[in-house]
Symmetry: C3
Subunit: 342 residues, 3 copies
């Protein structure tokens, strides 16, 4: 693709010969003359003078690079879009593979592709252009919207309802039973049937081997635009708002509520029935067991403001020294008091 064409598609201005030919994308320090690279700021500028890239995406006001440039007010965003243009993913051919097993009552929209050994249950509905990879299992009465992708080995249980453009990675499990039991006086646990449903709104991404459980009543819901990484546990009855980000290995207990725009780092844990307010940010590993106010930034276990956690953690390491100082103070004070005139 020529520079002028690429810049036009990205809706950006460019510096350099319009006919520079770009065929690949690479890191700034690995790029060659036919590659596009990103220089978003900060440390990137150290590599910029030596780059051999053909074209670099740069902030609007940064100095000229040793090559052609595409200027953007949001270099990361422009780069993400350029990647999609220059390295398009191969789409599976539409159609149902002969080794797929699709119930006669299932309804597939135009352009749907279903891979070998994918199994679609009774009354499943699949929207236009949705791609279902091999060995996926879709239970009875599932609704899958348009333009979704369901990767290999994922399992979508009965009656789960999925919006448009949802991307589900390999091995993810949507709609398995929530973990609910009643303990009898004799110590035996009886199962609470998990009979309600899971709703995934539009534009959600769900990572590999992530699990999202169904509740006994009500629903488990993932709001539009939310992004969930791998190996995340979302328990029964949790409600995740819009544009929420959950990094890998996060665990949400039952009936958790995450309001819009919450960001949780890797392995954050949230106890049952806790609400995390709009836009709150939880550092990796934070464990939240009480409600969190909107916009709060927390860390630690139990969770506290991130600055407080950092300061306390610094002191934690020195606890043995603090204890010795306390021992010494007590001894000196005792000595002093013993010398006092009675």
């Amino acid at each position: 693709m020529q520079l002028s064409d690429l810049a036009a598609r990205l809706d950006c201005r460019f510096d350099g010969r319009p006919d520079v030919e770009i065929s690949g994308v690479a890191h700034l320090d690995a790029a060659t003359s036919t590659d596009l690279a990103l220089c978003a700021g900060g440390r990137y500028f150290e590599s910029l003078p030596r780059t051999r890239a053909g074209v670099v995406i740069l902030p609007l006001d940064s100095p000229a690079p040793p090559c052609a440039a595409i200027r953007s007010p949001q270099p990361y965003l422009t780069f993400a879009r350029a990647l999609a243009l220059l390295r398009p993913t191969a789409a599976a051919a539409p159609g149902v593979h002969p080794a797929a097993v699709v119930a006669a009552t299932a309804v597939l929209g135009p352009g749907v592709s279903v891979g070998p050994c994918a199994v679609l249950g009774e009354r499943v509905q699949v929207g236009e252009g949705t791609r279902i990879y091999p060995n996926v299992t879709i239970g009875d009465d599932v609704v899958l919207g348009r333009g979704c992708i369901v990767h290999a080995g994922a399992s979508i249980r009965e009656r789960v309802h999925i919006g448009d453009r949802v991307l589900i990675h390999d091995g993810a499990v949507l709609g398995a039973d929530g973990f609910g039991f009643v303990r009898r006086p004799d110590g035996v646990y009886e199962k609470i049937p998990q009979t309600a449903d899971v709703v995934i709104e539009d534009d959600v991404e769900i990572g590999a081997n992530t699990t999202i459980d169904r509740p006994p009543l009500g629903e488990t819901r993932i709001g539009a635009g939310s992004k969930i990484d791998n190996l995340v546990q979302v328990a029964h009855g949790s409600h995740i708002g819009r544009n929420v980000v959950l990094a890998a290995q996060v665990g949400l207990a039952g009936s958790v509520r995450l309001e819009d725009g919450v960001v949780a780092g890797g392995r954050v844990g949230v106890s049952d029935h806790v609400t995390v307010g709009r836009g709150a940010r939880l550092s990796g590993g934070t464990v939240v067991s009480k409600d969190v106010d909107p916009g709060d930034q927390l860390a630690g276990y139990p969770a506290m403001p991130v600055a407080q956690w950092r300061r306390a953690s610094v002191i934690f390491r020195t606890l043995p020294a603090l204890k010795r100082r306390l021992d010494a103070l007590e001894a000196r004070l005792a000595a002093l008091i013993s010398k006092e005139p009675q």
Copy 2:
């Protein structure tokens, strides 16, 4: 179902017109006149006066609701059973789907169902009424008892032995190799073959994408009635007693022993060769690296009594202030001593 009929099946007495018709189940504040709802106590009573439910399950001695009532000494348990009656899950039709692959030497009991693309190896035995969902893989010589359910994509490796009424969720892996290697002097790891087996006793539930490994010798065993949530790791040679509860993302290292009735909250970790005594309770996130006495209630990392952990955690946040007080004390004491007559 009519109230009188429902109450009879639940073995409970009721207040109200016996012919009240109940067709659904809902939360107290979302229920309508044909719904059953639960009022188990505590906060539930706040919603009770305004409920529009047709029937409410109540403790024996609680005041009359604005609707019909089913009275129970164990409202949660009665509710769980009512859910099973009012929202029965659709059972797969018995029979082996033509797209299933079942070895000629496998033996299936009466009423077994095997879904499309499920694969059963040589000499597999499956008990009466067990249901195997699509894309499940069952290795050679596996024994599966009666009334089990194995959901889509689960993998049960060779020779795993599973009792009756075991419920295995999607993507669970039973019998993969334990993680055992010997480090050679040159830094290379040689594998210790993991040749022994996994035994799952009756009435166990295993969550989605949970992994239970086989050991080199001896066995890995999950005791009757134990309930394991999603994304849990049970390493080689661990022995879990009866009626043990492991919440999501728990990790047990090799040769751990959990005695009967142990309860572990989300993401508890237990180090190898540790024994946790009967009925001990480990709060979410607790990391146990030494044996735990029966009945102990622990939290924290390293684990300590939960009350001690709570008190220490409260002080942890204030460590910077404590350090400043210590600094000030030292300064004041030094000043005092310098004023002392020599």
Copy 3:
């Protein structure tokens, strides 16, 4: 197998009758006269006098057992090799099962076995003797080396490159999209296409339901001989060196670099762009957010030297008592000062 034959194959000397017949392997305290058992040192010696094993593997210089002995300078290693001899795993028969779906453009080496409902995409290459279990999905252009084993339900996405003798357990996902998004000013996240590849070098083992993501650029790489346990997350662009060990539930964020010989215990977490130096050891649960020097042994969150963490943790439990001592000191000092002549 006779003792003399077994010892010869293990390249060890033995004490006892050369024709002792060994058919099984067991723990020292469970072994019978036809079993081999291991006595590696330490606590093993407590059980040694009472063992009924036919043959025991012993350190070179340890006292004579009540049975025949195989002497080894590395008893664990010898035992691992003996297990492989005495309990060989049944290999799947070579050949492509009729219910497998292999693209016409795929190229399979001699002796390859492909189980039912395994799906191999276009231009996949599979090396000699590699075994692919049922319900595995292998995407287009994947290269799999010789002597690999891919267990049931694993998913290997497009273009992943895998060396020789790699062992992949059930449900593992290699090459799903890294978790990368750009947040737009309106709060919506746009996906950064994850278009680059994953490389797994020779002799790697990957645990059940573990996930290894592909990056947008560059590569994610697992070095030769590294061993990864179950439910581990390796994010996009991480580089793992040779002979690295990651126990279960470890999580590596994006662009992490683990040098050769790093050992991480269960549930270790490493923040993005962090380098962990050669041979460093991270105790279970350690969270590393800064670079780690070669050979360091760390624990805690944030990570610190393991001895420091242990000492600080001991004091942590006593924080309430320390605070009370500080309170008392302040009171006594204040009393003392008030008595001072002004």
